[in-house]
């Protein structure tokens, strides 16, 4: 650890990325029995995946090295390494179900967004779940000996059952990627429609960040589907060209993974850590605003933000020895701006200082009531 700490900021992500890639390489080597089970046709995919692994790990490490991120990362690590983990784990499991699997928070943002995102996300994950073991040589299918009507499945180089070519299970194995592709295409198209209808998204989206990933995913899925179509109905016409195009789009997608929008897939679990952090802070209690006295900030967050502001060289934001800007609730910060502005203009006044509480009846020189 001490060696790590001495490394400068760029070196640490490099080291992390190298270690992650090395680990993956070892896993591939072991899983494919020293490369014996690697499919030579998938080598391009393998290289791209290793690159993506390097890139994602690099970015992940530099991300958690950011002072703000480290604040939460450290907290989560500490929780996981302490006895508290036994209380936190069941909760984290429930949260993972709600936030990662069901993605309920997206449903609350908008049901259309949720539908599109669910199709897209599960389509992608399903696709990768099938292809990655194949690319790594962890799973392979061969004809069972000379029997051309049966398929033999191999997992990590061990035989793992066989099935007839015309069986349901075979149909599923061959077409699971088509299903994934269909889901991804549907999700992408729904996303594009939703984006077009949303004036906010239309105004803020950027082609490279928001649209390119969708276009690439559609391209990957379309070329994949066309491979099936070529094989099934066109007697393999253009198969080679299509395979090349498919490989090209997938490699582009993998190469883009560390840089683009899809990186959020590895970021998102941080939400679990934050939720635990909030719950712990809630248990510890909220501190009162030093402007209005209303409790507002969780004690742990106040401490950690204080440290963070020091790192960010914002610690000078103090109103006096005892009041830090972080000690004011957002409402008081807002009022303070107007107060400071008003002070530059004029002071307060009280026109009622001299008015008695009860009015005496009005003097009545020319009364009509008489």
């Amino acid at each position: 650890m001490s060696l790590l700490a001495e490394l400068d900021l760029e070196a640490r992500p490099l080291l992390g990325a190298a270690l992650a890639t090395l680990a993956l390489g070892v896993a591939v080597a072991l899983g494919s029995r020293g490369g014996r089970w690697l499919d030579p046709a998938l080598l391009g995919y393998l290289l791209a995946t290793l690159f993506a692994c390097f890139g994602v790990a690099y970015r992940y490490v530099s991300w958690i090295e950011r002072p703000a991120t480290r604040m939460y990362f450290r907290h989560t690590l500490r929780t996981l390494l302490s006895p508290r983990v036994f209380r936190a784990l069941p909760k984290m499991a429930l949260l993972a179900l709600d936030q990662i699997l069901l993605q309920r928070f997206i449903e609350k943002r908008s049901i259309k967004r949720w539908g599109a995102h669910a199709l897209l996300a599960w389509g992608c994950l399903l696709g990768f779940a099938v292809t990655i073991p194949l690319v790594f040589g962890w799973v392979r299918f061969t004809s069972e000996g000379l029997d051309a009507t049966r398929y033999q499945a191999w997992v990590l180089g061990f035989p793992a059952g066989s099935f007839p070519l015309d069986s349901f299970i075979a149909f599923c194995s061959f077409h699971i990627l088509d299903l994934a592709a269909a889901m991804v295409i549907a999700g992408c198209v729904l996303s594009l429609i939703r984006r077009k209808q949303d004036e906010g998204d239309t105004a803020t989206q950027r082609f490279d960040l928001d649209l390119l990933p969708l276009v690439l995913l559609i391209a990957v899925s379309m070329t994949g589907l066309m491979l099936t179509a070529s094989e099934k109905w066109l007697q393999g016409r253009n198969f080679a060209t299509l395979a090349f195009l498919h490989e090209l789009t997938v490699i582009l997608l993998l190469l883009g993974l560390p840089f683009g929008k899809l990186f959020h897939v590895v970021q998102r679990p941080a939400q679990l850590g934050v939720t635990i952090y909030k719950a712990e802070g809630e248990a510890e209690g909220r501190l009162a605003c030093k402007g209005c006295g209303a409790p507002f900030i969780r004690a742990n967050q106040r401490r950690d933000l204080g440290e963070l502001w020091k790192v960010l060289e914002l610690d000078g934001a103090r109103h006096s020895a005892s009041v830090h800007h972080l000690d004011l609730c957002p409402r008081c910060k807002r009022r303070l701006v107007a107060k400071a502005q008003g002070d530059r203009l004029h002071g307060a006044f009280d026109p009622f200082a001299t008015i008695p509480v009860h009015a005496e009846p009005i003097p009545d020189p020319t009364s009509l009531k008489a």
Binding site: Q267, R268, H319, L328, R335, L336, V337, Q341
Partner: protein, 193 residues
């Protein structure tokens, strides 16, 4: 792109507390039912003064610095956007750190939303919704060179909290814009700190 010759000029003294801005914010195509502007009473017991707050769009936004998921971005035109939806994890660091009390974390959504200058409107040459409807024009969005003729006070974009200097894109109207506006909590507390 929001045209660079336009500016947002805020004069809380003119605010009449009508909450048109709050209602209209929710009507803009970016916000859709979720209002991101704040309208606070200064202290209704003492005075009818109310305070409208939109994002000041800092040059080096503290909200972005404290964001663990790197979700808050400032575009080239100086607009600090709401947290990117795929990244925001709802931690509230931004909400608690913003020097002006602007971002709002919508808890069910695990998402921070904030004033983005109605990007769908300003990026195509309209005014933000709040500044368009504001009856007293406490929220004013006009060409920068028009302000001198329209207003007695002058735009200030420079704030001081303790020793921390915050520079912003949006302006507060004061008579003497050359001195930074010192945000001193003693002003809020009777008898000072």
């Amino acid at each position: 792109m929001v045209p660079q010759d336009y500016g947002f000029f805020i004069d809380p003294q003119r605010c009449i507390g009508c909450r048109s801005c709050v209602g209209a914010c929710a009507e803009c195509g970016t916000h859709r039912g979720r209002s991101m502007i704040h309208l606070d009473e200064m202290d209704r017991f003492d005075s009818p003064q109310t305070v409208p707050t939109v994002c000041m769009h800092c040059e080096d936004p503290i909200c972005a610095q404290v964001c663990p998921s790197d979700a808050i971005k400032r575009s080239e035109d100086g607009v600090v956007h709401a947290a990117q939806k795929p990244r925001c994890i709802g931690c509230q660091n931004c909400e608690l750190s913003c020097p002006f009390g602007v971002p709002i974390v919508f808890s069910g959504l695990e998402q921070m939303l904030k004033c983005d200058l109605c990007y769908d409107r300003t990026s195509v040459g309209h005014k933000p919704m709040c500044a368009t409807v504001c009856p007293s024009q406490a929220l004013l969005f006009v060409r920068k060179d028009e302000v001198a003729n329209m207003r007695h006070n002058k735009p200030l974009r420079d704030f001081l909290i303790g020793s921390v200097r915050v520079k912003t894109k949006n302006a507060i109207m004061v008579p003497d814009p050359d001195t930074p506006l010192h945000l001193d909590a003693a002003l809020l507390i009777d008898g000072g700190l």
